[in-house]
Amino acid sequence: MIITKIHEKLKSGAWVVEDILSMFESKLQIQLGTGKAKFTVTELCLSYYAKISLNDIKLRSNSFGLNDLSLDEKSYQYIVDILTTDHTKAEVGVFTESEKLKLNEALSLVKDANIFDMPDVSKVFQTFLKIEDVVFRSASHPHIFGVMLVGEPIKNFTAEQVAVSIVHEMAHQELFLITLLDRLINQAYDYHEIHAPFQGRKRPPIGRIHSLWALYRMVQFQNKIGKANLKHQALMKENIKAFESGELTQFGECLVKIVENEAT
């Protein structure tokens, strides 16, 4: 069973993005009837989830997505809709030269960390989109897998902090892939909200497990580059305790156990 193999790999501390990503792409290709045509996973996702024709999608980009990125109108609207909430009306913007420099420096930091079985960032994120008029520093979404949304507040952070953000979003992408195999949360508890230490507010279990997993990968990265962050380590420990009996599937509980082992 693939889930057993994934569990074994995760237990060793390794990342499993590449193990599931190729299956995800294949499944999307089958569902969309594209065969082995060369579409990126983001294009496949947009077509499958947003129902946009692959011929209409123009998300291909040069220079690692930082430059010369053009978006077709439908994809643009879909992304803006994702980012529009009761409190937010975002716009896709253009990176400044200093932001590009900072991102490239951050990408080098992640690459140089050479973490065990961590996928190359370019395999996870083919596109970086600058998002204006938002409060978040980074975000990602399973319907635009392969895109890292970089919020305007990036200008306030150092390259090292942006590197942590990249790892943070990669962890979300990893969990998006894992949830294709196991939804992690027992459905009856989908909206069971309790206090989440990372955000300091009530969150449903899927939010709490995403926080936990992102913290786990961040702490792993920070320890590896010799920049241990005691605050994140403490938050990670608190998050381990933020689950109630019955909320998680057996595999969800396994993930918490993996983080617990890392924390002790």
């Binding site: 889930i3 909430t85 195999l181």
Partner: protein
């Protein structure tokens, strides 16, 4: 000399000539690299005998690929469209996530 066929050609051949099962001869070799197109769903639609195909693949020592064929059915793409996931994303967007 072994006959090499792509899986697409193989499926077409089966679909056109047989609905009773797979009649691959001992000299037929299924080429690597196209196996992801074969799912149990597709096999069923084409009236193929998936067990016979698996046996053939196993005989060619493609066990690892066989596993992957089955694994694709374990991926649930709908999970990312469920309301709980939409709420997760909406909650995140409204937060500064300034975790330093």
């Amino acid at each position: 000399m072994k006959l090499q066929v792509s899986l697409t050609a193989f499926l077409l051949s089966i679909a056109l000539h047989s609905t009773a099962g797979v009649g691959l001869g001992p000299d037929t070799e299924i080429r690597k690299g196209v196996f992801y197109t074969l799912t149990p769903d597709m096999a069923q639609k084409l009236g193929l005998n998936i067990t016979a195909i698996k046996n053939k693949l196993q005989a060619q020592k493609y066990d690892d690929i066989l596993v992957k064929v089955d694994e694709l059915d374990q991926l649930d793409l709908s999970v990312h469209s469920q309301p709980a996931m939409k709420k997760l994303v909406a909650d995140n967007i409204d937060q500064p996530n300034d975790y330093n």
